[in-house]
């Protein structure tokens, strides 16, 4: 039984990281109907920015603020150069551009980082957790805390602040928002920057647990089943989908892999799970069913 609970909790904690990455994709999809394939590279970029900030050897809070500033600058730069010229065009074009952007960024990271993993060390108090036979590393607990804080802050931002309301309104109808004087260009830039920061946080957590490599962006691929299971436009779906996928993956790695002798099968189970869910609910568990009059 303890084994099962350990598997469950590891799954939930891993799920927290998946939720953040999926949130990044959902934020962008809700506002511009673009499926951001470069989300993994935004994660890597975040980890790199943190590494660069930590080279200054300043105290941790300062490094964190520096990290946020670097993320804002770099993602704003990418958005202005790559996304904004395509504003108003078919979202599919912008989606294709994100695929190219992802490849370009991987190459860029390899050129700057080299092919060897770079360790990232964050001096945080140890929160190692032991209850009976259950054991959680400090990194796992901290990543769960980061993820939960990020999710809560994001939800509060969207529900209660003025800019959050404006962003939700623009997501519903860009032209309507423009007619009422909303600066939609700025709102779109803001959306991408927030999504990039959210992804950067996830990248930080992943790199801290493992290490920073140039192709760490593969983690972004796991966000795809999470987003599709939860429904592309739903933040609730993100959270529930992330939990489910995390638990499914963890249970597979704890139980199924040894049972059927297929090591690494847990990389496949999220997609199998996605297949089953889509067969029952094609738009995801919480997705909006679009009724189109033909």
């Amino acid at each position: 039984m303890d084994f099962f609970i350990q598997a469950l909790f590891v799954g939930i904690i891993k799920g927290a990281t998946y939720i953040i990455i999926a949130l990044s994709m959902v934020i962008i999809y809700k506002s511009s109907n673009v499926f951001n394939f470069a989300v993994g590279e935004f994660c890597t970029m975040g980890a790199i920015m943190f590494y660069v900030a930590s080279l200054t050897h300043l105290p941790l809070p300062v490094v964190f603020i520096l990290f946020l500033l670097l993320c804002i600058v770099s993602s704003g730069f990418i958005e202005k150069i790559v996304i904004e010229p395509l504003m108003g065009r078919d979202p599919l074009s912008i989606t294709l551009v994100t695929i190219g952007l992802s490849t370009f960024l991987v190459g860029l990271f390899q050129m700057t980082l080299g092919s060897h993993p770079v360790p990232i060390d964050i001096q945080l108090p140890s929160l190692m957790f032991e209850i009976g036979d259950l054991f959680f590393t400090s990194e796992q607990i901290w990543s769960a805390i980061f993820a939960t804080t990020a999710i809560v802050l994001l939800l509060l931002f969207y529900q209660f602040t003025r800019w959050g309301i404006v962003m939700r309104a623009t997501a519903e109808g860009q032209v309507k928002a423009m007619a009422f004087g909303v600066n939609t260009r700025f709102v779109l830039t803001l959306t991408w920057v927030i999504a990039a920061i959210v992804a950067a946080l996830a990248g930080l957590v992943v790199a801290w647990g493992g290490s920073l490599t140039y192709n760490m962006g593969i983690i972004g691929l796991v966000a795809i089943p999470v987003v599709l299971v939860g429904g592309l436009e739903s933040i609730t779906g993100c959270i529930i989908g992330g939990m489910l996928i995390g638990i499914v993956e963890s249970l597979t790695s704890f139980y199924l892999e040894s049972a059927i002798g297929l090591e690494g099968f847990r990389a496949v189970t999220p997609y199998l799970f996605l297949l089953i869910v889509l067969m029952i609910r094609p738009t995801g568990l919480f997705g909006q069913v679009h009724i189109e009059r033909v």
Partner: protein, 263 residues
């Protein structure tokens, strides 16, 4: 004074929609813009408010001026924020998944000053039915309430001039009367100029001081509202003909009617 001179608008480079439209709407009064479907009223309003390029439209010739300031090349955001001209689109443009209060906040985002909450109270004084449903999602409101919400959102942007596109669309006659009463009050109490594009000619002309009639992308009649109400052609085209006996079908042919516009 909102002045439009010789405006030519083309969609997708090939579909010519407005052919040399000229009209003027003084500030602080209500001007009616009448015309059947497809006469170019919405296109004209899109051109004035600067969102024409989203619909792949292009102003090829002509000038749009508000108080001697050219509106042609300005971005839509600047037109609403700096020139204080708001376009209330047709079809009740509200944000359905936001609550009424959030809708008003979103509309007020172009002016982050401290008067926003006070203005919100003022807005709700014009539209008492909205007060009861402040926290419900806007998508659940009835048609009339949505139209009231639209209007209060337009008022929250602190306009000096509002372009209203078919506010009476799909509303019951009692609701139309209520809405137009409020339109009259907005104009007289807040001194906001209104360009009112309408299908319901009777109600529009009753509340306006001046009227333009458009047909096929051209202005075909331009007169005071009272004169238009008693004009025989307008009566025949929009208000139902006074002559109820079986009309000779030949007489009702459109090309013959068009000749009479010039008279």
């Amino acid at each position: 004074m909102l002045k439009i001179e010789n405006l030519t608008v083309v969609y997708l480079g090939v579909i010519s929609v407005l052919h040399g439209v000229s009209l003027s709407a003084p500030e602080q009064s209500i001007t009616a813009l009448l015309g059947g479907n497809g006469s170019g009223k919405t296109t004209l309003m899109r051109a004035i408010s600067g969102i024409l390029d989203i619909y792949e439209g292009d102003i090829q010739k002509g000038e749009i001026e508000l108080n001697k300031v050219k509106l042609n090349g300005l971005k839509a955001v600047d037109i609403t924020r700096k020139m204080n001209l708001t376009y209330m689109m047709e079809g009740r443009p509200i944000f359905e998944y936001l609550t009424i209060k959030e809708n008003l906040k979103a509309a007020a985002s172009c002016r982050w000053d401290s008067n926003v909450s006070r203005d919100m109270e003022g807005m709700l004084a014009y539209f008492p039915p909205l007060v009861k449903r402040l926290q419900s999602k806007a998508g659940y409101l009835s048609g009339g309430e949505q139209q009231m919400l639209c209007m209060s959102m337009a008022l929250m942007t602190n306009p000096k001039f509002i372009l209203m596109d078919e506010p009476s669309l799909g509303l019951s006659p009692i609701m139309v009367k209520e809405i137009f009463e409020v339109i009259g009050r907005i104009n007289s109490e807040k001194k906001i100029g209104i360009l009112l594009s309408e299908q319901n000619a009777m109600v529009a002309l009753k509340v306006s001081s001046h009227g333009f009639v458009m047909d096929n992308g051209r202005v075909v009649m331009d007169d005071s509202a009272k004169a238009l109400l008693s004009n025989a052609d307008i009566q025949e085209a929009y208000l139902g003909s006074a002559d109820q006996d079986g009309k000779d079908y030949k007489e009702a042919k459109r090309y013959k009617r068009r000749k009479r516009w010039l008279g």
